[in-house]
Symmetry: D2
Subunit: 302 residues, 4 copies
């Protein structure tokens, strides 16, 4: 197939490369000329504007966005609605909030175009191993892109699927990331407990390695954890500072909206907030309260 | 009544003073001569050894311990069992683990003496306001000490009670402290949320003051929080470092033993552990894992 | 002063009564004629429409809403904007989301009227004990209503205050309720632990009573807990089903928006969600997973 | 090699079978004659008493226990110490608390025998896929059993390792299970959120299948979850009731002992406790408290 790939960052460039390798024609657009040059190197065509990208594609066109969620995605959809024609398809492969996707899909459908939300997992490993894709939108529109999905996925019938109407893809990806937070935190806590048990002198890299086969906790995240522990067993020089992106927060909010108790996913998010709250006002106040009722000494800030 | 007070620290000295004021004869013992001098200043007698303290008391004797839980309490009980006689009473007014109390009460009863566990709340305010006391032990033994309890308590029939057999007093005090952790954390989180909402420019001391009358969250801990915020609204110079003593941990362990879900008390304890884990290995590992799968940059330690 | 009270339910009627007792003239409006009759009984005037209520008030008018948050409050504000004149004041005494308040305050100000958000705590006890009020809005507008606040509050200078600009009152009340959730859950867990410790045969009503004076956990919520345990020590016939209203959810969402870790307030909310999730899909799936990897038997639904 | 296998339940029988297939001579003991008959069917020898089993093994003997943790393991070790001789080896392949293991290893070493703790993961799948084994004990004693470990493991150098001194194997397995609780709960919550989002009509079995390749959350537990959802997508007839065994509790206790914050593993355990607390006293009390302060109706038990 032929498609335009908008956004040639880490994700977009790798996906373009996997598509070119799979025999597809890709016209990549990114405002950054270095990013365009990088994808030309492996055989993608490029365009230096959305207009130009659209011109280089045959109708019905496919424009696949791999751009940051939020205003940039919104602005790109608006621009594409002005450039594309009835029957063309816009794909949002980023981590958009599914509520935004619902709005955008409606606006796009009102113009007679198709909108597909493709929740995409796989990170920097997707180029080699394929991407896991949760796809939302009309059945026919999704089916037309089957060759693209089959190339991007780990296998023809593996790792991707049409999960429901517009929004369902991003919703499913959001929950995927919420689960991911929980899994990561569970491993991190377990390894931290072992790290603190000095008397056993455990080699955490070895333990992670043992668990990678045969154990109940084996997983791809464990494989990566083993790699990380192999490179830097004591986590030297790494700050205990964990960013979070929108999906974890949205999962927590969605769970509450749906009256679903999700203590572990929620605590995973809170643990990340706490990792970035080095000067916790709450903890200072607790220290002051202990001093008030019990006369307990407060530790002074250094 | 007449009783020996063992341990003349913050708690023991204040309780001795409240008893003396109430017309009781107190013989205080503490290895530290300054501590003894301090209680003599308000009319307590003192002794410079347990033996001497015991000698100065009429049978049946009452020996009230306000000493640190654990080995010191255990050693003091052992020593007292060698010095006291049938019919005498030992009171443990400290924060002992109720399981230790069960063992000690049995050993003491085997010698024909009485053992009373008196969970004591009130902190540095107890001298002025009276102590809340949860008392465990045989009914008759507790009744004999009624005049003492009535003097130490906020009022004759207020703030103290015989809650059950040996161990029940310390068990109840343990749960009391578990609840206290939860209450403190709830306030600390709420004030922290308000502190971070810069756009409203809230005066936290004012808000705490408003809530002190009429509101659903009014409490003595809130009164203290208001005081603390009045003295130091920005918590300047206080480290975000919160110690915990045994009772919170024991409450969490007991809840699990009893199959009782106690998420809030448990998270209150975990929040304190986290306040002291400035170099969280778990958070460093999470940062490394994010780098592995997504190529996300890790923040470096400074 | 003279004011219109809109909404004569549990809260509005009691506040009207406290105001009448305090010498104010109150014109109450409620679509329900029984509700109007009830406030007439203690000396309030009434009106059977908003228009009529407005007509009965002298300019500059004060219209105080005690109606459910959300669309009803929004609709009432819209209607009042059509009926009131420049210089009049609308007070929202309900539990509105502060974000809605910000929008409404702006719309009202654009018409030259004043908008005050008054977060109100006190429940059914407010009539007798006074209400705790956190007030947001312009300083002058708030000052003009001082006589009303002083009558509704527990004392002239007690239990109420102007905490900040529009929205600050409802924001503060929202956090108040988040804290309330945490406090309630901490007590509930503690009493549940004691209830499960059958060997000590604790009398929970007695324990709550002991703690009410002198202890660190004394509070108004504990007073109420003692009352509840006195009436029904085993909680006979009460379903383990705990509703939540908006404020707890909003507090959790706000904490996350502000990057503030609030594990205890959050778990309090999750505990309530869980109390209403009798057929937990998550727990069923956990049971099925245990069966898959370990061959563990699944308990069957009855 | 030759070894005695004590306990021919689900785990012991499968391990015996994998060893026999791998060319080892196994003498199985179990008090249940059916269990013995079952292992004879695939070529293991059996004995109807510990004495007889010991008699059938050449010195230095290896006795491998796959029996329930606690008193049964303790009693079996005591019996074996009376039957075995200097230089013989006892292996505990069960889920013993590592603190018990430390005591038993010392007692066994005092008799001149060897004690190995082998934390074993793999469940009912171990027969086909191999077991993951975390081994504690003296290096030489572990090395002597290398052929056994290599047969039981998924591969010669895979899925097993000597992780440290006595106790380190069971400690590591304990943490493994703690992590397992967290992983399971994270998936369960995520699928529950999707199950409640009725508007998207998600097919959970399909979603689990998509995630099995390429996604960040792929894992063996996800594979099993997909199987479970394939068999019973709505979890029909399964009670929301989740047992827990000792390891999760011990992990939580150990984390607290080591001052390591482990909110997610802890909440996973608490979620299981809650799943079995259908008549939550805490939730009933919360309902009663809401009634006390706000006059909110309490839901009645049916």
């Amino acid at each position: 197939m032929e498609l335009g790939m908008i956004g040639l960052g880490k994700m977009g460039a790798n996906m373009a490369q996997r598509l070119v390798r799979g025999g597809h024609r890709v016209v990549g657009f990114d405002p950054d000329s270095d990013a365009r040059a990088a994808v030309e190197a492996f055989g993608a065509e490029t365009a230096d504007s959305l207009e130009s990208m659209v011109d280089k594609l045959p109708a019905p066109r496919v424009a696949w966005m791999m751009v940051p969620a939020g205003d940039i995605t919104g602005g790109t959809v608006d621009a594409l609605m002005g450039l594309l024609a009835t029957g063309d398809t816009i794909v949002d492969g980023g981590n958009s909030n599914y509520k935004n996707t619902l709005d955008r899909a409606k606006a796009v459908a009102d113009k007679g175009m198709h909108y597909i939300d493709c929740g995409t997992s796989g990170g920097v490993w997707g180029l080699a191993e394929g991407y896991s894709m949760m796809v939302g939108g009309e059945k026919d529109a999704v089916e037309r892109l089957r060759p693209v999905f089959e190339t991007l996925a780990p296998g023809k019938e593996q790792g991707w699927g049409h999960v429901g109407p517009s929004g369902a893809g991003h919703f499913t990806k959001m929950v995927h990331n919420g689960i991911e937070y929980g899994l990561m935190q569970a491993y991190a806590e377990g390894f931290s407990i072992m790290e603190h048990k000095k008397e056993f002198g455990l080699d955490l890299h070895q333990v992670a390695g043992i668990w990678r086969t045969g154990s109940v906790v084996r997983s791809w995240l464990l494989d990566l954890t083993a790699d990380a522990l192999g490179k830097n067993p004591a986590m030297d020089g790494i700050a205990p500072f964990v960013p979070d992106s929108g999906e974890g927060r949205w999962t927590v909010a969605e769970a509450i909206d749906l009256d679903v108790p999700a203590p572990v996913i929620t605590q995973s998010l809170i643990a990340r907030l706490r990792s970035r709250d080095g000067e916790s006002f709450a903890d200072k106040l607790l220290s002051a309260m202990r001093n008030e009722f019990g006369g307990h000494a407060m530790k002074k800030e250094q």
